[in-house]
């Protein structure tokens, strides 16, 4: 196959989007630097160490695919909770479909606005965490996002924010090629929950840069929509101070290709972080979680919990790394990734990695892949539960460890309901 040279492809990628022309000086230079990063890194290719399992071709492709806009009459995820709703339609902020951008202990504005003015805390983050996250593993789609994204939100929590900020991503255009970039700062002792919901585009590229100061707490919950053939590449770059809390959970059902990358830097002592995900795929479905957690402080705990249910040739990928630096004594690192294969055509590929330079740490990682346990299935059936229902119970049971990572029980229950809905719709 005559592959386009990766430098040329990088240029082509940049040419596919139009970056905002205006902007404050800092914003322009941040974007320029990101542009240079894209060119220096080159486009992602099959030979890159972290793109062996997932083919980036569709993400690199000239056009976003033509994806039917799914019309659902079901209640949207997170509908029941009180929230500050911010809507993007095909990647464009829609004030008419959003709540006022204000709230207690909250500074919030669109990225578009923020890039025009001098906001020192935002300029300290925008493109900065992304740039730092390029080492040691290049993430060209994230640099592309910084260089070209003109839409997103900028949020600063100055205290406990009681209502979650809910980002809703709608689609109207069958072929929208969407870039969204969010910048979040959780100040010392502050608490913030961010929800994301929806497919967002035929091809969606999001970056979220999150800075959690000492004693801050950040919760993130995401549901990536149910549109069938959409593509998504997402990145979260987070830095956590001392005694901070960070939790991120992603629910993915359907979608042709999803790659969720999380780069976590634990910078302060006594911090706890969790990154988790549950995904369900049937048929033409590839779901990839690529996680990199760096421990650079003492007495911290990190958890990675990923569960994938796969059928009819669906593929699950997990690449998770825990890096413990020499000074990160007493680190407690946990990582589990599991695939539940509902047939022989599906597959789960895992690359768990531990790299440890401190001597007094407890890190464990496990990866398994298998079918529904026949003994358990028989036990349930022997009590009168029909096979399909028993199998769905086993699917939910399998996913439960990941869902248990969600702090808010009400939101967790909402996620469980979605999962069982999917399982019922897809039981053969």
């Amino acid at each position: 196959m005559g592959e386009v040279k990766r430098e040329n492809l990088a240029e082509a990628l940049l040419a596919r989007h139009s970056a905002p022309r205006s902007g404050a000086g800092w914003a322009l230079s941040a974007r320029r630097a990101a542009r240079d990063r894209v060119l220096a890194l080159g486009a992602a290719g099959r030979r890159d160490e972290y793109w062996r399992y997932t083919n980036p071709a569709a993400l690199n492709g000239a056009e976003a695919p033509d994806v039917e806009v799914l019309q659902l009459d079901e209640t949207p995820v997170f509908d029941g909770v009180e929230k500050l709703l911010i809507t993007f339609v095909d990647g464009v902020y829609r004030p008419d479909l959003s709540d006022d951008l204000q709230g207690e202990n909250l500074e919030i504005m669109t990225l578009e606005e923020a890039l025009e003015v001098d906001i020192h805390w935002a300029s300290d983050l925008f493109g900065v965490f992304e740039a730092r996250g390029q080492n040691p593993v290049p993430r060209p789609f994230a640099a592309l996002n910084t260089a070209m994204a003109g839409q997103g939100v900028v949020i600063r929590a100055n205290g406990k924010v009681t209502k979650p900020v809910a980002l809703r991503y709608c689609r109207e255009n069958r072929q929208s090629d969407v870039l969204l970039h969010h910048v979040i700062r959780v100040e010392s002792g502050a608490e913030l929950t961010v929800l994301e919901n929806g497919a967002g585009g035929a091809r969606l590229n999001t970056v979220m840069e999150v800075d959690v100061a000492d004693g801050g707490s950040f919760h993130h919950l995401r549901a990536q929509g149910r549109d069938h053939t959409r593509l998504a590449i997402t990145h979260i770059f987070a830095r956590l101070g001392a005694e901070a809390r960070f939790k991120s959970f992603t629910l993915t059902v359907n979608g042709q290709l999803t790659r969720n990358e999380v780069v976590l830097d634990i910078d302060g002592d006594d911090t706890k972080a969790s990154v988790a995900g549950a995904c369900l795929g049937d048929g033409d479905f590839l779901h990839d979680d690529t996680i990199f957690v760096t421990h650079d402080a003492r007495d911290c705990e990190s958890r990675q919990v990923f569960k994938k249910v796969l059928k009819n040739g669906a593929t699950g990928v997990f690449q998770g790394k825990i890096l413990v630096k020499a000074d990160a004594q007493k680190t407690d690192g946990y990582q589990i990734s599991q695939g539940l294969l509902l047939d022989d055509d599906s597959n789960f590929l895992a690359k768990p990695e531990l790299e440890i330079y401190a001597d007094d740490v407890a890190c464990s990682h496990g990866s398994t892949c298998g079918a529904v346990d026949e003994n358990s299935l028989f036990y349930l059936m022997s009590r009168g539960v029909p096979r399909k229902q028993a199998q769905n119970m086993m699917i939910l049971a399998f996913l439960d460890e990941a869902i248990a990572e969600i702090e808010n029980e009400e939101l967790a229950e909402d996620i469980r309901t979605r999962l069982s809905g999917w399982a019922e719709r897809h039981s053969a």
Binding site: F378, S382, R383, V385, M393, L399
Partner: protein, 251 residues
């Protein structure tokens, strides 16, 4: 009521017959006990009757009220009225005990065309029955059998049996691993379900259990079939002399 007729069954993976022409007939309201040496096929019989995979039926029938269970899926057999208390109850992480029980009860009711129980109705019944078996509420909230002690697992089986109100109950070594008090509890649980119609097949190695659940008939099973049947005194004979003598008698 419940009848096993010339049942022959083999392992699906190996060419090895385990049940070699088993016959058994239990009338309504009767309690039968099966004793027999390790490996004689007692658990296999209970698995084949309830529809576990991995076995091939070579010949025979298992009839409940005239219907051949062997033609049914395991859940249909349960709805038809068969219940097996497992020798080794299965741990299922992630499935709550209560959710499981309620799903099972309602699935059976649905299959029989009865109204499903709502959460409140269900809770009331399950609390009552759990209390009688000294199963605390905490255990009900935990995942199915996960972290249960051996005795707790067996009591949980009896609780399921009490909730499902089957017609025929097979108890596979429910007394193994129980302390004296727990065994009495289990026996009381079983006796409470004896209503003159419900039938029991109690598999055990110990005559002790049969002091509490007094059987009408005791069968001795060896090498895949029943080799001798008799009254409760047969259990005493086994207790005193082992199986050796009985097996020689037959040969």
């Amino acid at each position: 009521m419940f009848e096993i007729k010339n049942l022959k069954a083999s392992l699906a993976d190996e060419d090895k017959q385990i049940l070699k022409g088993m016959n058994l007939k239990i009338g309504a309201g009767e309690v039968h006990a099966i004793m027999g040496p390790n490996g004689s096929g007692k658990s296999t019989m209970s698995y084949v009757a309830s529809g576990k995979g991995g076995y091939v039926v070579d010949e025979g029938e298992v009839l409940l009220d005239g219907a051949n269970l062997l033609d049914m899926e395991p859940d249909e057999r349960a709805a038809a009225g068969l219940f097996l208390a497992f020798q080794y109850p299965v741990e299922i992480p992630g499935v709550g005990n209560m959710t499981f029980l309620r799903t099972a009860v309602n699935a059976q009711r649905k299959m029989r065309g009865e109204d499903e129980l709502n959460a409140a109705q269900f809770l009331k019944i399950v609390r009552e029955k759990a209390k009688a078996l000294k199963i605390d509420a905490d255990m009900l909230k935990r995942p199915v059998n996960v972290g249960f002690s051996g005795g707790e697992k067996k009591r949980n089986e009896i609780l399921q049996m009490a909730m499902l109100e089957p017609k025929v109950c097979i108890l596979d070594e429910t007394d193994s691993g129980l302390d004296v008090d727990a065994m009495k509890l289990v026996a009381e649980g079983v006796n409470a379900l004896r209503d003159g119609k419900r039938s029991f097949l109690v598999i055990t190695h110990y005559q002790r259990l049969l002091d509490h659940i007094v059987p009408d008939v005791v069968h001795i099973m060896a090498d895949g079939k029943i080799i001798k049947s008799g009254g409760p005194e047969l259990a005493l004979e086994v207790e005193n002399n082992g199986y050796e003598g009985l097996m020689n008698e037959v040969v």
